[in-house]
């Protein structure tokens, strides 16, 4: 299962809703909020699903952009 560091750039007025979505997701863990518009989260999902999952996040209402900062696939080796 890959571990991925992710930043979600959100619309200010929809940040809370996006955060709630993250916190309800089994494969995402919320770590912090920066300037009311950047959610720092960690994803745990098979790397083969990562791209699709990130694309899904990008299409979430209130999400302007998704950035990955770290991917670890040790467990999958």
């Amino acid at each position: 299962m890959a571990i991925t560091g992710i930043i979600l750039h959100t619309l200010g007025e929809k940040t809370d809703a996006v955060r709630a979505m993250v916190e309800q997701s089994d494969d995402l863990q919320f770590y912090g909020l920066h300037e009311e518009k950047h959610l720092v989260i960690v994803g745990e999902m098979p790397s083969r699903e990562l791209k699709r999952r990130l694309e899904g996040l990008e299409k979430t209402d209130g999400v302007l952009a998704v950035y990955t900062t770290f991917v670890n696939t040790e467990d999958e080796q």
Partner: protein, 747 residues
């Protein structure tokens, strides 16, 4: 509560996101930490402050120090420092080579053997038959101490270090222009400048945290311009308003041409020139402004454009951008320094600031970027090179020697008056049997020296004792004795980064196995070699630091105010700092900022390093590299770093995430050249220089200029330095890693 490996990696993942945003980590990452300890990143010369998170006596995470200049931001290398500490390759016991193999030994055995070998050599062949080769990664205290032991205790000035390979030309540039080493500005100048002149520096990959600051500044104000001079289209060049993609090796002409433009466009500062500058040629003869202008007539943009490899129009633009900007900041690195005319390149960059008066003001400064975290601090400032004594003094000057002899409590005129061997001369002397014993500390010359086939025999031939952390460092293949040192946050000490900022690395954890602090190793070894114990009366690095402060106090360096107590509280202080209530100095040579200038000094600026108080504008002519491309070897080979790896890879190759993303070196080749040679992306190609040949996988693209190939130098399995040239700058003695001729062949 112990952290699982998986939890730890999740924290790293979160940290990488947080640090990418430039904020310190909070929230869940902190909850599993027993305590945070302040330190300085182990990698580049940016000198980012870090906070080391310790759990159950182990470092489990690293985050940026929000109170240091990096404001909590780290690059991925810095954030992933923890696994380096626990690498399986750590040397944890002393080793002695027996029957060709390094085998565990006791400390007494290793120290006694080394001391005996050094003593025998000194007794038989004199003190100059032994030497020390240190590092810009050693602590300030370690380098100061090693230099003192060899110069004062053993009377050998063969004290060198790897900063000779990276920053010596910057030292030469500053001392010939300003009379004193080290930059005059500070990182805050990045936030205030309106024109970045980035010359021979891939800041984006080599100093990523600074690059983010540069990019932030550019994004904050559309009027801010970025000029990049680089023969590669690096990530740094991609934010440039003007990228001068020069032919490698002819940029002295470019710098003179920019000076020509500045005068032609009347962007010079006559008042500053009249008061604070004089002009000199290579014979050190003083000239008038008019004579300097006549010298520049040979460097009109039209005359030099073909040579430089860019259009005359772009040179005019560059000169105008630099001169018209309210504040201009030059940042340069190995592209200027690792050259046979590196000192001249440094001089000519400073010229642009001196003729425009863009110096000593917020956002205006010539500013060299350092490759290592403590090259400025440990080696340059404390005199850890063969011609230097502490705090900017030089061995060749009797008055300087006498000052230091008095401070060190040794008889007058007892220091060896002959400067020692510079780096390539030292290793050459080892090959010839003229230097028989070498002690290294925290450095890997069997990977980092140029033209390795020439110098490695010297390493093999001499008695080599290494204070080295990692068993896979190439140099250990030649070692007779290995001493295991405490690494990074396993001991306390001070680093000094590019901007004259000194910061403390606190001891956060105990070292593994039988590792000992290098200060302790050096003192023990010195006494066993017969050095008077009174010369090395130190119990720990703090004792050494306090002596260094005293030794610096009568010079313009003056560290007296940088006490250990302050360093523990504050996240870095910029010298000079003469008293404990002094805030440190952001800009040197400026009345009101630099404590070396009296408040009632009549002029605003005083370049006190030079006797007449003026800085020198040098008339340096264009000179080609030592080995330009020719018909037989038609390509230019250049080397450098990549963002993932650092130097010889002994630390970054311990980080699985980095190694997976960047397992081996490659050769970057221009797509036009590749097409002509029938090379496709991923093909194996052989690089052949006059010194050797090596096969790399090709990366084809538009990054390199046609005729140029680039190879990163971190890979111990592909030692590109077997191909590089050992030609050196006659002033700085720094090798020309950046340019040599080669052939390229598809295999």
């Amino acid at each position: 509560m112990s952290l699982s490996r998986r939890d730890f990696i999740k924290q790293l993942a979160a940290m990488s996101a947080l640090t990418a945003l430039g904020i310190p980590t909070k929230a869940k990452a902190d909850q599993n930490i027993d305590f945070w300890s302040k330190a300085v990143c182990r990698y580049c010369g940016t000198g980012c402050g870090v906070m080391v998170g310790v759990k159950d006596g182990k470092v489990v995470t690293v985050k940026g120090d929000p109170n240091n200049h990096n404001k909590g931001l780290l690059c991925l290398k810095g954030a992933l420092l923890a696994p380096v500490i626990y690498a399986k390759e750590r040397v944890t016991k002393p080793l002695i080579r027996r029957n060709g193999k390094l085998e565990p030994a006791s400390w007494d055995e290793a120290l006694d053997l080394t001391a005996r070998k050094f003593r025998e050599s000194i007794d038989k062949f004199g003190p100059e038959s032994v030497g020390y080769y240190g590092s810009g990664q050693a602590l300030t205290e370690e380098t100061y101490l090693a230099s003192k032991i060899f110069k004062a205790g053993l009377k050998s000035n063969n004290v060198e270090g790897n900063p000779r390979l990276c920053m010596a030309s910057a030292v030469g540039g500053y001392t010939t222009t300003f009379g004193k080493d080290e930059p005059c500005g500070c990182f805050e100048d990045i936030d205030a400048t309106s024109c970045f002149f980035i010359f021979g520096s891939n800041t984006s990959e080599c100093h990523p945290v600074l690059f983010r600051r540069i990019a932030d500044r550019k994004q904050s104000d559309p009027k801010v311009k970025v000029i990049v001079v680089d023969p590669r289209t690096t990530n740094t060049a991609r934010i440039a308003d003007l990228h001068l993609k020069v032919k490698a090796g002819n940029d002295l002409a470019l710098l003179n041409a920019m000076a020509y433009v500045i005068f032609r466009e009347e962007l010079d500062d006559p008042r500053f020139i009249e008061r604070y500058v004089h002009f000199k040629d290579n014979e050190k003869k003083t000239h008038t402004l008019e004579e300097y202008l006549r010298f520049l007539d040979d460097y009109t943009p039209e005359k030099v454009a073909d040579l430089v490899g860019v259009t005359a129009e772009d040179i005019w633009r560059a000169g105008r951008m630099f001169g018209e900007a309210p504040a201009s900041l030059s940042l340069w690195c190995m592209g200027a320094n690792q050259r046979t005319r590196g000192v001249w390149a440094n001089n000519l960059i400073s010229n642009l600031h001196l003729i425009t008066g863009k110096i000593g003001k917020p956002g205006s400064s010539p500013f060299s970027l350092t490759g290592q975290p403590n090259a400025c601090g440990g080696v340059r400032d404390t005199g850890g090179l063969s011609h230097l004594l502490p705090a900017g003094r030089v061995i060749a000057k009797k008055a300087h020697r006498n000052q230091v002899e008095k401070q060190w409590g040794i008889p007058q005129d007892s220091l060896n008056p002959k400067p020692g061997l510079h780096t390539t001369a030292l290793f050459e002397a080892m090959s010839k049997g003229e230097v028989n014993c070498l002690l290294t500390l925290c450095t890997n010359p069997a990977h980092s020296l140029p033209n390795l086939h020439k110098f490695n025999p010297g390493l093999k031939q001499c008695f080599l004792a290494c204070i080295e952390t990692f068993s896979d460092a190439k140099t250990l293949e030649f070692a007779d004795v290995v001493f295991p040192p405490s690494f990074w946050v396993e001991r306390e000490g001070v680093y000094g980064c590019s901007e004259r900022r000194y910061a403390l690395i606190g001891k956060a954890i105990d070292a593994p196995g039988e590792c000992r602090d290098s200060v302790n190793i050096l003192v023990d070894l010195a006494v066993r070699m017969g050095v008077d114990p009174k010369l090395v009366p130190y119990k720990n690095s703090e004792d050494v630091w306090n002596e260094w402060r005293e030794v610096s106090s009568s010079t313009p360096y003056n560290f007296m105010g940088i006490t250990r107590e302050r360093l523990r509280k504050e996240s870095g202080i910029l010298w000079p700092c003469p008293t404990e209530d002094h805030p440190g100095t952001k800009r040197r040579y400026v009345r009101g900022e630099d404590p070396n200038i009296p408040a009632d000094y009549p002029n605003k600026y005083w370049f006190y390093g030079n006797e007449d108080g003026r800085a020198v504008v040098w008339m340096r002519p264009q000179k080609p590299p030592a080995e330009p491309a020719d018909a037989e070897y038609p390509f230019v080979l250049t080397t450098g770093r990549v963002i993932d790896h650092w130097h010889t890879g002994t630390m970054t190759n311990k980080v699985p995430e980095i190694n997976k993303s960047f397992p081996e070196a490659y050769v970057e080749i221009n797509d036009q050249d590749a097409k002509r040679l029938g090379v496709q992306n991923g093909d194996n190609v052989e690089l052949i220089s006059r010194r050797g040949a090596m096969v790399f996988q090709a990366r084809v693209g538009d990054v390199c200029n046609p005729g140029l190939v680039f190879v990163p130098w971190f890979d111990p399995d592909r030692l590109i330095n077997e191909l590089t040239i050992d030609a050196i700058d006659p002033g700085s003695k720094q090798p020309e890693f950046k340019i040599c001729a080669c052939k390229v062949r598809k295999v």
